[in-house]
Symmetry: D2
Subunit: 147 residues, 4 copies
């Protein structure tokens, strides 16, 4: 059941989200439902001093959190990211990155997740927590929703 949901969400991300291809992100789930977002080094996403832009950290952390929360909900409800607090711990240059989500709490109105960003040397380079509002609706109409 949850395996079906994982497949649906992975498929949605890889085939329907233009940003996944444009960045080069791949998403999968661990057995216990943590979303893992991987990004091989993409020089188009560097900032002016040759490091990977902080916006890439935020994008990966947000994505890992959202999918971790979404897969835990099943398909009867939907979530939208409401807020994310991103901490930039280490600068990174010319490296692949991996963001991993972890569900902190599932609630009636909002879920909370924690996300870690790891570089290819296994250093913790970014950290985030996020709040995701629950929308009791079909995903296909959810895009018109506001938080």
């Amino acid at each position: 059941m949850r395996e079906v949901r994982k497949e649906e969400l992975m498929n949605m991300f890889h085939t329907q989200a233009p940003i996944s291809r444009y960045f080069g992100m791949r998403m999968s789930f661990s057995e216990d439902g943590s979303a893992i977002v991987e990004l091989p080094y993409n020089p188009n996403l560097d900032h002016a001093l040759g490091g990977i832009h902080g916006g890439v950290y935020a994008t990966m952390l947000d994505t890992a959190g959202w999918f971790t929360v979404a897969v835990a909900r099943g398909d009867s409800s939907w979530v939208v990211t409401s807020e994310i607090t991103v901490r930039y711990l280490e600068p990174v240059e010319k490296m692949s990155l991996r963001a991993i989500g972890k569900l902190i709490r599932q609630g009636k109105r909002q879920d909370v997740a924690e996300m870690h960003l790891i570089d290819e040397r296994d250093r913790l380079v970014g950290h985030a927590t996020g709040a995701f509002m629950v929308i009791p609706q079909n995903p296909m109409t959810a895009k018109d929703e506001t938080g």
Copy 2:
């Protein structure tokens, strides 16, 4: 003096930051030193449901905050984004966006800025505050620094 600094930073962003071209972002400064980041609609940055990905909000808000803080410092010191809290207020589809920075406080060790994200109908669609650590160093070596 500060006008020279503005030109240097704009030039740095537009000619040396690959992400500015890849997203299609342009950056300028208001008279009073607020950085303004503009992004025409780029379909490559959409999420799976056809809206603009939250990571784009975060990238633009972070960039507007960083440049607002950097121009206020002059060229004798440097800043790195330490943390950013991003609030997603409204979803946006197929629209240009504009992020505007505002300096909240300049400190000895860190600066704080507030950032607004506005869509082409002038709605407030995102909000952020960020902390930017001060690094007393030449920009060209600053890239090896850690927060």
Copy 3:
């Protein structure tokens, strides 16, 4: 109409909230609906080095944000603080403090406010933004609600 609501909320805070008396906080509203929380210096709230504890900053900023959001809603709905990001800008010793709320955005499911903390020399010593979830319910039952 809104004046009545202001009176109700002020009365509620001063007569029913034990923490208001225990800290020594007083709350009022500006004409445009910003909640203002004032606290004369209370030595019981100092930390070990003689400054005012950061928890006092957070308490005052949270309170100013909550009442600003609550008065703007009128009495047909209720809000609970969902998350608050507090920035400690300056340490303060033996001084009165004043927190002021400002509504950033009113939404269907949550409101966002910004709060400033000012010391008696008019320095900005703390800053916060917060998210407040809307609960479509009578206040008297709202206390059993969860976010």
Copy 4:
């Protein structure tokens, strides 16, 4: 060595911090260095609807994070709370609370910690992460410092 530091910090909190007595907070450390802040129910800290005020959550979470970071540093440097993001997950009434800190990352200029707030039924009722700036100075002069 670290045991000595633990004793010093516990002693500092219990004998020199007026707020610890005023709230009724006790602080200790786990073997691995997590600060644990405990608070028996204190009706003076309730809000108007009979629950424990959010400012108490923030105070306990901030304290648990600060002491966790401080004990890990030893006595040659000092830290000040720079920012804390507090999430209110569940309301609590008439219960003791326990906040627990966890070091996420130790850096050159700032440390990051995560904190959990647990009620007497072992529910997770609050969560926070915080940034703590490092100040290379003797604690006794640190109180005049600004972030």
